[in-house]
Subunit: 149 residues, 2 copies
């Protein structure tokens, strides 16, 4: 049985994997968000950088689908990344409706540095994991994510 920091009985919520996933995710994201904020971006913007880093030339809509958000939300996000000098909109070669997204030189080093910083902060949480547990967790989470795809 788990102990709570206060005298509250969480029995019903604790029985739900979904609720515990949410609270663990919030704990992780507190850290993640702080690391991103220090560098002047948000977790959402980092997600875009990480996708474009590995997939240069994607259109805005393709990136939106990759991070499961609406393409209308991409406009302001890419605007911000452009203003920060991290990303570039280039005309797509064979479709004049769309842009191809690329990281700038600065964007590449920025993204790599931020990724390293986030990994370093994540290491804090690995203190509570035994040998092999992180890989097992990543694998199980992947199975959950892919279940209904």
């Amino acid at each position: 049985m788990s102990r709570e920091r206060n005298d509250i009985d969480y029995t019903m919520l604790n029985s739900l994997v979904g609720y515990r996933l949410r609270r663990a995710q919030l704990a992780y994201f507190e850290n993640f968000t702080a690391t991103c904020t220090e560098q002047g971006v948000t977790p959402g913007l980092f997600g875009i950088l990480a996708i474009v880093y590995h997939n240069p030339g994607l259109t805005q809509t393709a990136v939106a689908q990759a991070i499961e958000t609406d393409r209308s939300a991409m406009v302001a996000a890419v605007d911000k990344l452009e203003k920060l000098g991290l990303i570039e909109r280039r005309p797509a070669e064979n479709d004049r409706r769309s842009y191809a997204l690329f990281l700038t030189g600065h964007g590449i080093t920025f993204t790599e540095n931020l990724h390293r910083k986030v990994l370093k902060h994540e290491a804090h949480f690995e203190e509570v994991m035994k040998d092999g547990e992180k890989d097992w967790l990543l694998d199980l989470l992947t199975r959950i994510i892919d279940l209904d795809r």
Copy 2:
């Protein structure tokens, strides 16, 4: 290595436990939210019901702390639950500033039924878990949640 449903390379995001936690949580919550919506509440309202179910008589502020939200957000939430006939505000016995929260008779059966429905829907995700993996996951998530408390 995990396969994605599209041709996108997620290497950087996949390396972060935080991002995978978030996506798994979103997958779970899609299901959770749908189950709650069918019964006319939100996951947030269910959280309040679940806390008051096991801890009758808590003040609004105490419930707010239990679910880690601001007490200002409790007002509209408890208003809704009151209009649904699920919860009651009673004057606190020894502090005329605060209310003690209690579920109504209907609130109790409603909460128990909804809890059962959510558990049933969660069982879908257990298809991807081997024997003992669910308990392991709950335990690991608890360790993560409690790390910085």
